[in-house]
Symmetry: C2
Subunit: 169 residues, 2 copies
């Protein structure tokens, strides 16, 4: 009997199929970043853009959508506003990434790598990621606390502390 089956015996319910999925961390993350422009804005922040007009120029995103996405990212604490001042102009806002935003890097690196592997142009990727100190190519890996490299097939999902069943309505 696996870790799922033992959480709910004799109820006629299936812990995998009848569980409450509303507190799924994947779904909750997607509520915020699971939208095209949002992730592309973050990509540009990583590539060093920070001004409203930068995003508009490189993304070609409508201004009202851009403003809405930036506002949401700031509300969520993924970006923060600072001000910049070009000589001869007044102070204007710019957007910088927070540590909460930086913590999205592994997820986005995962998307990048998959695209590099399966959907790149014949010449290769458009952008490469490397370690600033040593210049070597970086990639995402799955590891366990004991330090072993883990293959995707060797990952086992088990119910966590907030696991609960869907109310039978």
């Amino acid at each position: 009997m696996d870790a799922w089956t033992e959480v709910l015996q004799d109820t006629g319910l299936d812990p995998r199929l009848d569980r409450d999925t509303s507190n799924c961390s994947i779904a909750r993350t997607l509520e915020i970043v699971g939208e095209k422009w949002t992730i592309l804005i973050l990509r540009e922040v990583w590539y060093s853009s920070s001004r409203f007009s930068d995003f508009e120029r490189v993304l070609g995103c409508p201004r009202n959508l851009l403003a809405a996405r930036l506002r949401m990212l700031v509300e969520e604490g993924i970006l923060a506003t600072e001000t910049y001042k070009e000589p001869g102009s007044r102070s204007r806002p710019k957007y910088v990434i927070t540590s909460k935003g930086m913590d999205l890097v592994p997820a986005v690196m995962g998307l990048l790598e998959w695209g590099d592997r399966y959907r790149a142009d014949p010449e290769g990727p458009a952008v490469l990621a490397r370690h600033r100190e040593c210049g070597a190519h970086v990639d995402v890996q799955i590891r366990c606390r004991r330090g072993h490299a883990v293959q995707a097939e060797d990952i086992e999902s088990v119910p966590g502390p907030a696991f609960r069943m869907r109310s039978p309505g």
Copy 2:
């Protein structure tokens, strides 16, 4: 002068802001999996669901959308169909993940971890991921080819072989 600046001097264009973003691997991956139901279907496949009715039951997704997403995932080679047969019923299709689909695990683990950290219930995550062999918790890490663990801040993006500028139209 950084790796971006040296690709395009004296043109008045900015290699970051005027580059062609149409071959971005992040965007291309999102074209496929950057949609709510699609990633949630994959989540359920990892949690072992495989039948049409399983997905419908656990996700509450409209059938026509579910059918469309499953068809797309099979066309893209992320899922494959096999048949199963319950005693007393005819053969029916089921969906299994391919190695191309398994290669999305790091990206989705990244989303999961971020959600666990910033959007979990007070009790903690709904689901935990552990290493089947040793039972230890698994997470995603960024490493360079030399084996160093890399912080997000120490990643440098540089133009790759398919880098090109946007045509000035």
